[in-house]
């Protein structure tokens, strides 16, 4: 605790709005310089890794889907890939395509919510989506319809849009008929055009000049923009298999947060749309490339505030990819490949909307989970958010406390943090000495 003095000022914001979950930020400023930044995620620990121990492997997709109301597919996908590795099962063809399609649905839904309702008000000068909607009703309506297009994919393939139930080890409990997917097409074509407009809209926002030196970390795949699989790559030379994740990425506890911090070779790194786009720009579609070129946006993007552009480009990508997958879909002979249970340990990394999501499971010969480890994207970004704030704070010191606090919130929102995934409301305190 800093010493109380005439120069000490404390700024407290009860809750940073428009983030998922509860947490607090404490910034200590001493003699005009930022001394300490602590992002405290005090969402109670949720013990999912412990709940999983002793459960049958087949229950895992339904249990992990409950970790997040926004990105349940990500949890299900990392889980089934890790478990299938144990069973020596590789899912190809139409089942692989359907997994990619449902993941696209989740990206569209999650990204549209963040772009339109959570972050856009920051750029347009509103304190809430409701206030923004009063002046920009048509735009907000477009965003809601985009989100709904993603939901429609998740509902059809997952059985329901919240906590989907159809994903299982080996495939799905039910796969759609061709006609069912065809019926999504008209709305997805509308959504693709709306996504182009979204990229153009956010490209015209005013961005402050801020470019930290990021180490981007994302999956890379030789043939496609990564969703379900790939090697873990960093802007440094790292290129590893998901099996090697724990050899390079280290989780450690900090006394002030219920979420573990994760570092790569002892340093913070960045996961999520910005990292993914920068490391996978060669897999963008011609249309996405054209829209970026029209707006004179050159990759890589180095400003965290440009995350809204990356997210919008990924909405466009996910829609084009969904249409492609629907076009070539022929129902598989079986909704799921047969599973031969054997003991072992399996790991997988997939690209959740907010970045790479690592799962590891150890199971016994009866298919019962003996150990589970889950590393969500927000805990990986936690150190990087603190680092950004350390770098961003000096330019805020001359501002009144309330404005400085709001600016910190805007930096945090660039990350679309899902605090409930990582371990929920963000309180902000700035101590000045």
């Amino acid at each position: 605790m800093s010493k109380a003095s005439e120069q000490t000022r404390t700024i407290a914001v009860d809750m940073v709005a428009r983030v998922e979950g509860e947490g607090a930020l404490r910034v200590t400023v001493k003699d005009g310089t930022v001394e300490d930044v602590e992002l405290r995620l005090f969402e109670p620990p949720r013990f999912f890794e412990a709940f999983l121990r002793g459960r049958h492997y087949a229950e895992v997709p339904d249990i992990v889907a409950r970790i997040c109301g926004i990105c349940p597919i990500a949890y299900q996908m990392s889980a089934v890939h890790a478990l299938e590795q144990i069973f020596g099962l590789r899912i190809e063809g139409a089942l692989r395509d359907l997994r990619r399609l449902i993941y696209c649905g989740e990206w569209i839904e999650s990204h549209a919510l963040h772009v339109y309702l959570l972050q856009a008000p920051d750029f347009l000068g509103y304190d809430s989506a409701v206030a923004m909607a009063k002046d920009h009703a048509a735009i907000v309506t477009r965003g809601l319809r985009l989100k709904k297009a993603g939901n429609a994919i998740m509902t059809l393939l997952g059985g329901r849009s919240v906590h989907p139930v159809s994903v299982k080890v080996g495939g799905f409990s039910r796969v759609p008929l061709r006609g069912e997917l065809e019926r999504l097409k008209d709305e997805l074509l509308w959504a693709r055009d709306a996504a182009v407009e979204t990229v153009r809209w956010v490209a015209d926002f005013e961005y402050i000049d801020f470019a930290p030196d990021y180490n981007y970390v994302a999956l890379r795949h030789p043939d496609e923009y990564p969703l379900n699989e790939g090697q873990i790559a960093a802007s440094t030379v790292l290129q590893i298999s998901p099996n090697e994740f724990e050899q390079h990425f280290v989780e450690h506890q900090v006394p002030y947060s219920n979420a573990l911090h994760c570092t790569l070779q002892g340093e913070p790194y960045l996961v999520g749309p910005l990292a993914r786009l920068n490391l996978n720009q060669n897999h963008l579609t011609p249309l996405a490339g054209q829209v970026l070129a029209d707006k004179r946006i050159a990759l890589p993007l180095r400003n965290p505030f440009h995350g809204i552009i990356a997210r919008s480009v990924e909405i466009l990508y996910a829609l084009e990819e969904s249409l492609r997958l629907i076009e070539q879909y022929e129902p598989p002979p079986l909704p799921a490949a047969p599973v031969a249970v054997r003991p072992g340990t399996g790991m997988a990394c997939t690209e959740a909307p907010r970045g790479i999501l690592y799962h590891r499971y150890q199971i016994d010969g009866d298919g019962v989970i003996r150990e589970a480890k889950i590393v969500p994207p927000t805990s990986q970004n936690q150190s990087r958010i603190e680092q950004d704030l350390r770098q961003f704070m000096p330019r805020l010191l001359s501002l009144p406390d309330k404005e400085a606090a709001l600016a910190c919130e805007r930096v945090i929102r660039c990350y679309d943090p899902c605090i409930s995934c990582a371990t929920h409301f963000l309180r902000l305190e700035i101590e000045r000495e």
Partner: protein, 165 residues
């Protein structure tokens, strides 16, 4: 399609926060074809979608204003924004009142939106309904049945008079 939609909100796993869902389940048996009934757990912004294509929406949820547990609030959201913070804060980014205001801002709010709130006592995970809320559940169901009957009669007479034109 029924012109009235009853939407029960809440979380089955958190004690008194289940009251809206339980009310909806009972109402489904009681209102018959006069209204469509939906149980919507953890709905967030999805509430906007659930209010589409219908002229009367009756919402029922747990509330927390500091009044005695079991107290029943009846608020008319169609008349204007519901002030204060009486509905349990959603841990998710968009709560029920924000979803209602967003719908109003983009012109998607049904003509009539009535929000029933039952004052909660215990909303800890894994708890049963508290005794005061269990009593209030019976009352709020009866109140909504009566409101639904009145709305249904009004809509039917409006339709009849239009047909007569």
């Amino acid at each position: 399609m029924a012109a009235i939609r009853i939407i029960g909100l809440g979380n089955h796993l958190r004690g008194d926060d289940a009251v809206g869902l339980l009310a909806a389940r009972r109402l489904r048996q009681k209102v018959g074809h006069r209204a469509e009934v939906i149980e919507a757990e953890m709905v967030g912004i999805g509430l906007m979608e659930l209010m589409k294509d219908v002229s009367v929406v009756i919402l029922v949820d747990a509330a927390r204003s500091g009044l005695a547990p079991g107290t029943i609030h009846r608020l008319d959201a169609s008349a204007g924004p519901i002030g204060g913070r009486i509905f349990p804060c959603s841990s998710h980014v968009i709560g029920i009142l924000e979803a209602l205001e967003l719908a109003r801002a983009v012109g998607a709010l049904p003509a009539t939106v009535i929000l029933y709130g039952v004052e909660a006592d215990n909303t800890e995970p894994g708890q049963q309904l508290s005794s005061a809320v269990a009593v209030a559940l019976d009352q709020v169901v009866e109140q909504i049945v009566q409101e639904c009957d009145a709305d249904h009669a009004r809509i039917s007479s409006d339709d009849a008079s239009r047909e007569g034109c």
